[in-house]
Amino acid sequence: MKKITVIVRNLPLNTRRNSEALRMSVGLTLKNDKVTVIFMDDGVYSATHLEPGIVNSRSPDREFEALSMLGCSLLADKPSLDKRSVKNLRENVVPAAREEIVNTITESDIVIPF
């Protein structure tokens, strides 16, 4: 079993990249590898409850539900949260100190910044 980490760093509503990163993360569980998603920099906004319908974009609710059900770790970089005063994280997304983020990345077999 490999450890795969996907890093989400972009603003959520300017692009479909973040939703696609989450969909890809769901897919990466299909060979029973351990998948972790890290939200950092502007990517932390993706880990909150937004209203993408306002900009005619689809909600990533399904991706978050699937990732939680499949036992994936969802970490939000605490310094990125603090810098942006982001507090309303989605259920199952855990704030993580920078040290934990670094450990997760260095212990991974594959890191995918998406």
């Binding site: 890809m24 897919g27 060979k31 590898d33 594959i110």
Partner: protein
Amino acid sequence: MKLGILLTTSPENENTNTVINISRAAIRQGHEVSIFLMYDGVYNINNKEFAALVDDRVSIAVCAFNVEQRKIGKVDGIVFGSQYDHACIASEVDRLISFG
């Protein structure tokens, strides 16, 4: 060594040229190369130089869902696959590089 490459940008990005060159170099040195295209990366199948990598024994699979969203036609030699194919590549390769 088995090398996996994930490409998520369209052919206008310099990533395409880098992926072509890395893939050719790896094949020349006797390595196996598997590329997975998703998001705007699926547009690369319309780039002749990129698609020609299959003639150099590079394995290329695309996310068929992204292809369908972008109304792109099928190309011979390229697998119109799924995220399962990406999971297989990630699981089987010795190294995976992401270009996004």
